[in-house]
């Protein structure tokens, strides 16, 4: 018996030219959505290390207090002493009240009690300024705080 080879069906080669379009679309999506940082940090911050830390939930309810020494480029203007930065601006403890009030204003009525103040503080900072900030927050009734830290070895 003769083996009859079946005729191969001609599978039409499919066009992959649209693949690049799809990939580009994804690429643009990622490029646009990933905001690298919400605010420009103007102080040097090396977070302290801690192991008993948890993920910060609800970023939209969080405002950040940055404390550290000004970046080298800004030292001419602001000196080398520890400074506090709120919302892109160098501030003093007295500005916290307005800062918290402005953040509260943005939140809905239900979320206001959940407002968290996250401390991004350089580990060489002295406790004096940290305590001043905490006292001011107590006066503003912003009692939920979070000390940001790094996990060692991560």
């Amino acid at each position: 018996m003769k083996l009859v080879r079946k005729k191969k069906k001609n599978i039409g080669s499919y066009s992959s030219s649209s693949m690049s379009d799809i990939v580009f679309m994804l690429l643009f999506f990622f490029m646009v959505t990933t905001t690298m940082r919400e605010e420009e940090v103007k102080v040097n911050i090396k977070l302290p290390e801690a192991t008993e830390i948890a993920k910060l939930e609800r970023k939209d309810l969080t405002c950040y207090v940055n404390v550290g020494t000004p970046m080298i480029a800004l030292r001419g203007m602001y000196g080398t002493d520890t400074r506090m930065q709120l919302n892109d601006k160098f501030s003093t403890v007295d500005d916290i009240r307005d800062f918290v009030a402005a953040k509260r204003e943005q939140l809905s009525e239900a979320d206001r009690a959940q407002l968290t103040v996250a401390f991004k503080i350089d580990d060489q900072t002295r406790m004096g300024i940290v305590t001043d900030v905490k006292q001011e927050l107590r006066r503003c009734q912003a009692l939920k705080i979070n000390y940001l830290a790094n996990h060692p070895g991560k």
């Binding site: 948890a54 580990d123 900072t125 830290a149």
Partner: protein, 192 residues
């Protein structure tokens, strides 16, 4: 002149290039996970409000950190690495010692009547204490608490604290409530 046919551009490598870029962005953009230690500040005391009740001395573990980051626990100097064990024995008071916190029997859901220590960890810093030291001390205290909670939940529910259900976690928290009191800092060390 005859028109030259333009050669078709091979676009198949475009996808590769785009993939390369895509994977670069996927890998480099960390979604910026912030890790932190949550705390609750005590509300400001009003003038007319009466002062909180005095706490019996044996119920307080006094931790002082001075302006050069040296640690004093109940007026005795100590290294940070030993602090966790000290806090643990203080809070649990396994041998019911006289100078460690007293216990009272409380009714806790899921557990029934159980003796709960009344220990309070008091942390006092100086204005000159470094934030690194402060966080190290806070971390050690927190470690003591979580180890106690873990030990308790393993003996009680046969699984670590983090894996318990919400109401069981609350019960364990009731046995070892987080009692850290922060006193106003002193200003003994000179400002530097």
């Amino acid at each position: 002149m005859a028109k030259r046919s333009t050669p078709e551009l091979n676009a198949s490598s475009m996808a590769d290039i785009a993939f390369l870029l895509l994977s670069f962005f996927l890998l480099t953009t960390t979604m910026d996970q912030n890790l932190g230690m949550p705390r609750r500040l005590p509300p400001m005391l009003e003038e007319e409000q009466e002062k909180p009740p005095e706490i019996n001395k044996r119920n307080i573990l006094q931790i002082h950190v001075n302006s050069v980051d040296l640690l004093l626990v109940n007026k005795k100097p100590m290294e940070v690495v030993l602090l966790k064990e000290e806090v643990k024995t203080f809070l649990s008071n396994p041998r019911n010692e006289e100078d460690k916190p007293e216990k009272e029997v409380k009714n806790i859901e899921l557990l029934g009547a159980i003796s709960v220590g009344k220990g309070v960890v008091s942390l006092q810093t100086d204005r000159g204490t470094s934030y690194r030291m402060y966080m190290a001390v806070q971390n050690e205290i927190m470690r003591a608490y979580s180890e106690l909670r873990d030990e308790f939940s393993i003996s009680q529910f046969q699984s670590p604290y983090a894996k318990l259900s919400e109401d069981r976690q609350e019960a364990v928290r009731g046995v070892y409530p987080l009692n850290i009191s922060e006193a106003e800092p002193r200003d003994k060390g000179k400002k530097r």
